[in-house]
C-alpha cells in the first residue's frame, strides 16, 4: 500500500479522500491556490503545497505543478477526485512518466471513454443500446445542419464535458446560435476544449447510473444504481438509491451491461456507467464517467463498501476483496448537494463568507462538507460546499429524515440550495417517485418564501436585533464607551452617532 498520496483537488471531495487515506494509515498531501490557503482540505491534510493563482487553469489544472509537488513531497500516488484533472488522459500519462500511480483507470480507458463518441461505439460493440444522435465533434455549420436533420429539441454537449458544463438544451432554431456560443465558451473554460456534438433530446427520461468496481485482474462488481433525475441545468442536485423504477432483474441486466462496457474498454478502478431509462424501462447507454462521482456516498450508504478506499486499493494493485454475492443493498439513501447558489434568484452563484455553519446529526445522517464556519467560498470554482447524505430503512424514512436534517442544517452568510431541497421533498410527485429529469423546472414556482408563522417570527426577530443594535449604539453615543455590537454586522463600523 502507498505511504503517501497527493490529492489533486479541493473542497468536499478532497476532504473525502483525505479521510479515506487517514483511515488507511496513508499520509496525505494537499495542493492549494492563492484563495484556498484557508480551505478545509489544507487544514486536514498532513502536508500542503501552494500551486498558483485562483483560476483553475493556473493551479488545479496545472499538470506540471502537481507532478512537481508529488515528487517534492514523495507522494507515490495521486488521487484526482472529480472534475479538474480526473478525466484527463494527459495527466494520467504525466503521472506514469514521473513514476507516480494515477488513482483511476488506465489512460487508454480515459481516452476511449472520455470521448463520448468512442464510448458510444464501445457500448454498441458490447451490445448495449445507445441514444439516437451524432457522434463526432461538429463545427458551428454542422451543428446547424444536423440540428435540422434530427429536429428540435436537441441537446448540445461538450465532447470533453461532464457535470452539465457546456451542455445546453435547445428547443428551437432561434435559440441555437446563442446557445452554441455559450456552450463552447463554457466548455473551453471548464475543459480547455470547446468541441461540441449534438443528440436527440429524449423527453421525460430518467437518469440512472450504475456504480462499478473493477480491479487490474479483470474482476468486476456492480454496486447497484443511482437515480439522478433531479437535475437543474443538467447539473444533478439530488441523487438516490435504489431507484424507484428498479427491480432485481433490471438491476442485474444494467449492472452486467455496465461491466460489459468496462470490459470492452479495458477499464479498471471505480467507475460509473450512465443510462437513460424511458417510460417503458428500456435503458440506453449514455456515457462512462471514468472517475469517482460526486454522488458515490449514496451507494456507500446502502452497500457499506467504501468506494474511495477500494479505488485506492485497486490502484495499489490489490485484488478486489468483494465478489458480486458479497454486495447487498440495505435500505435506501439520498444525497442533497448543498450549493452556494441562490434558489430565490434563479440559482445565481453565491460565493462569500460562511458566517454560520451548523450541521445536522443523529441517526442516518452523513455530512461531507468542504467548508467550516468562517470559511470563504471562492467564486473561482464549483459551487458545491457540502453534501448531506441520508440513510433510512426505506425511501419513506429517508424522505422524513432528510426533511428533519435539512431543517437542522444552518448555513449562514451565503445563500444555499437548502430551501430548494425542502420544496422538492414536499412535492407529491417526488414523494411518490413519479418524476423525471424535467421535474426541477416544474417545481421551481413552488419556491415560496416560507410560512406566515415563519415570516412573523422573522419580522419580530429582525426588529429585536435592530432594537438591540440601536440600544447599544445609543449607549455608545451617550457614554462614549465601547460598543459590543460593533463586532457583529460588518458594515456597522461605519455607523456614526448621528445615525
Amino acid at each position: 500500500m502507498f505511504e503517501k498520496v497527493l490529492v489533486a483537488n479541493r473542497s468536499e471531495i478532497a476532504v473525502r479522500i483525505i479521510r479515506a487515506c487517514k483511515e488507511m494509515g496513508i499520509k496525505t498531501v494537499a495542493v492549494f491556490s492563492d484563495v484556498d490557503r484557508d480551505a478545509l482540505h489544507v487544514r486536514m491534510a498532513d502536508e500542503a503545497y501552494h500551486i498558483g493563482p485562483p483560476p483553475a487553469r493556473e493551479s488545479y489544472l496545472r499538470i506540471d505543478k502537481i507532478i512537481d509537488v508529488a515528487k517534492r513531497s514523495g507522494a507515490e500516488a495521486i488521487h484526482p477526485g472529480y472534475g479538474f484533472l480526473a478525466e484527463n488522459a494527459e495527466f494520467a500519462q504525466a503521472c506514469e512518466d514521473a513514476g507516480i500511480v494515477f488513482i483511476g483507470p488506465p489512460k487508454e480507458s480515459i481516452v476511449a471513454m472520455g470521448s463520448k463518441t468512442v464510448a458510444r461505439q464501445t457500448a454498441m460493440k458490447a451490445d448495449v443500446p445507445v441514444i439516437p444522435g451524432t457522434l463526432e465533434p461538429l463545427s458551428d455549420e454542422e451543428i446547424f445542419q444536423k440540428a435540422e436533420e434530427i429536429g428540435f429539441p436537441i441537446m448540445l454537449k461538450a465532447v470533453a464535458g461532464g457535470g452539465g458544463k457546456g451542455m445546453r438544451l435547445v428547443k428551437s432554431r432561434e435559440e441555437l446560435e446563442s446557445a452554441v456560443r455559450l456552450a463552447r465558451s463554457e466548455a473551453k473554460g471548464a475543459f480547455g476544449d470547446d468541441s461540441l456534438y449534438i443528440e436527440k433530446y429524449i423527453e421525460n427520461p430518467r437518469h440512472v447510473e450504475m456504480q462499478i468496481l473493477v480491479d487490474r485482474y479483470g474482476n468486476g462488481i456492480y454496486l447497484g444504481e443511482r437515480e439522478c433525475s433531479i437535475q437543474r441545468r443538467h447539473q444533478k442536485v439530488i441523487e438516490e438509491t435504489p431507484s424507484v423504477i428498479m427491480d432485481e432483474e433490471l438491476r442485474r441486466r444494467m449492472g452486467e451491461a455496465a461491466l460489459r462496457v468496462a470490459k470492452a474498454a479495458g477499464y479498471y478502478s471505480a467507475g460509473t456507467v450512465e443510462f437513460l431509462v424511458d417510460k417503458d424501462r428500456n435503458f440506453y447507454f449514455l456515457e462512462v464517467n471514468t472517475r469517482l462521482q460526486v454522488e458515490h456516498p449514496v451507494t456507500e450508504m446502502v452497500t457499506g463498501i467504501d468506494i474511495v478506499k477500494e479505488m485506492i486499493k485497486i490502484a495499489a494493485g490489490e485484488k478486489l476483496s468483494y465478489t458480486q454475492d458479497d454486495v447487498k443493498m440495505e435500505g435506501a439513501s439520498m444525497e442533497f448537494r448543498i450549493y452556494a447558489e441562490d434558489p430565490f434568484n434563479n440559482f445565481m452563484p453565491a460565493p462569500g463568507k460562511i458566517t454560520g455553519f451548523r450541521v445536522p446529526g443523529g441517526p442516518g445522517i452523513r455530512v461531507d462538507a468542504g467548508v467550516y464556519e468562517g470559511a470563504v467560498v471562492p467564486m473561482e470554482y464549483d459551487p458545491i460546499v457540502a453534501k448531506l447524505i441520508v440513510w433510512g430503512k426505506d425511501r419513506k424514512e429517508v424522505i422524513e429524515r432528510s426533511k428533519r436534517a435539512l431543517r437542522e442544517f444552518v448555513v449562514r452568510g451565503i445563500k444555499t440550495t437548502i430551501p430548494f431541497h425542502l420544496v422538492v421533498l414536499d412535492d407529491e410527485r417526488f414523494v411518490s417517485g413519479d418524476f423525471d429529469t424535467t421535474f426541477v423546472e416544474s417545481v421551481l414556482d413552488k419556491l415560496g418564501r416560507g410560512s406566515q408563522e415563519g415570516l412573523e417570527l422573522a419580522l419580530a426577530l429582525a426588529a429585536i436585533a435592530e432594537d438591540q443594535k440601536e440600544y447599544a449604539s445609543e449607549r455608545v453615543c451617550k457614554e462614549g464607551g465601547m460598543d459590543p455590537w460593533k463586532f457583529f454586522g460588518r458594515k456597522m463600523l461605519m455607523r456614526t452617532c448621528w445615525w
Binding site: D342, T355, G356, P383, A462, E466, F488, G489, K491
Partner: protein, 181 residues
C-alpha cells in the same frame, strides 16, 4: 420602539417593547397601501423570551412555542433570517429613520435603465461601449462565477449611457453594470 420592515413587496410595522432581560412584547402590523391611503392591520402580538447565542443565533420561546432562529445583519439594516430551512430577507429600520430616508431618497429609487448584477462574479466579456445603440435583449455583459457564465441583456431599446465595468472586474450582487437611456 417602532420599526418598519420590508420583505419582498410587503411592508410591516413592528413595535418592540423590552419587558425584562430577555423578554420582549412585539406587535406586528401589515401596512396595506391603497393609492394614498395606508392602513395598519394587526397581524399578531407576541410575547417573546429571547436568548442570543453568539452573534446571530436566537433561541426564542413564544408562549411555550420554541424556535431557533438565525438573524444576521448582512448590510446596514438588511437582515437575513434563517429558520428551520426557511429563509427571509428583510430591511428593518426605525420608523423615524425610514421616513427620513424616504424624504432624502424618494420612495423607491428604481432606475429603470440600470442593468444590475444579481450575482457576485467576474466580468469576462463587455459587448458594448458608451454611446452604442442597443436593442432590447441584446447581450451587454457576461459575468462568470463558479464555472457558470451569465449573460446580462438590455432591458429595453436605447443608448448606452455608462458602462461601469471592464473585463476582469469583480462585481458584487447589486452592482450596476451598464446604464441605458
Amino acid at each position: 420602539m417602532a420599526y418598519v420592515a420590508i420583505c419582498g413587496d410587503k411592508e410591516f410595522k413592528v413595535e418592540v417593547k423590552k419587558k425584562g432581560d430577555f423578554l420582549y412584547d412585539v406587535a406586528i402590523y401589515e401596512i396595506k397601501k391603497d393609492k394614498d391611503e395606508s392602513e395598519e392591520v394587526l397581524l399578531r402580538e407576541l410575547s417573546l423570551d429571547v436568548r442570543r447565542h453568539g452573534c446571530c443565533t436566537y433561541s426564542v420561546l413564544a408562549d411555550h412555542r420554541s424556535y431557533e432562529v438565525d438573524v444576521e445583519e448582512k448590510d446596514n439594516h438588511m437582515y437575513e433570517v434563517l429558520l428551520e430551512g426557511e429563509h427571509y430577507e428583510l430591511k428593518v429600520m426605525d420608523e423615524m429613520k425610514m421616513k427620513l430616508e424616504r424624504l432624502l431618497h424618494g420612495a423607491d429609487d428604481i432606475a429603470e435603465g440600470e442593468v444590475k448584477t444579481s450575482m457576485t462574479g467576474k466580468v469576462t466579456r463587455v459587448f458594448v461601449a458608451e454611446g452604442d445603440q442597443v436593442k432590447k435583449g441584446q447581450p451587454l455583459v457576461i459575468l462568470e462565477a463558479m464555472k457558470m457564465e451569465n449573460e446580462f441583456k438590455a432591458p429595453k431599446d436605447g443608448v448606452v449611457k455608462v458602462v461601469k465595468v471592464k473585463e476582469g472586474d469583480v462585481v458584487n450582487t447589486g452592482a450596476v453594470l451598464v446604464v441605458i437611456e
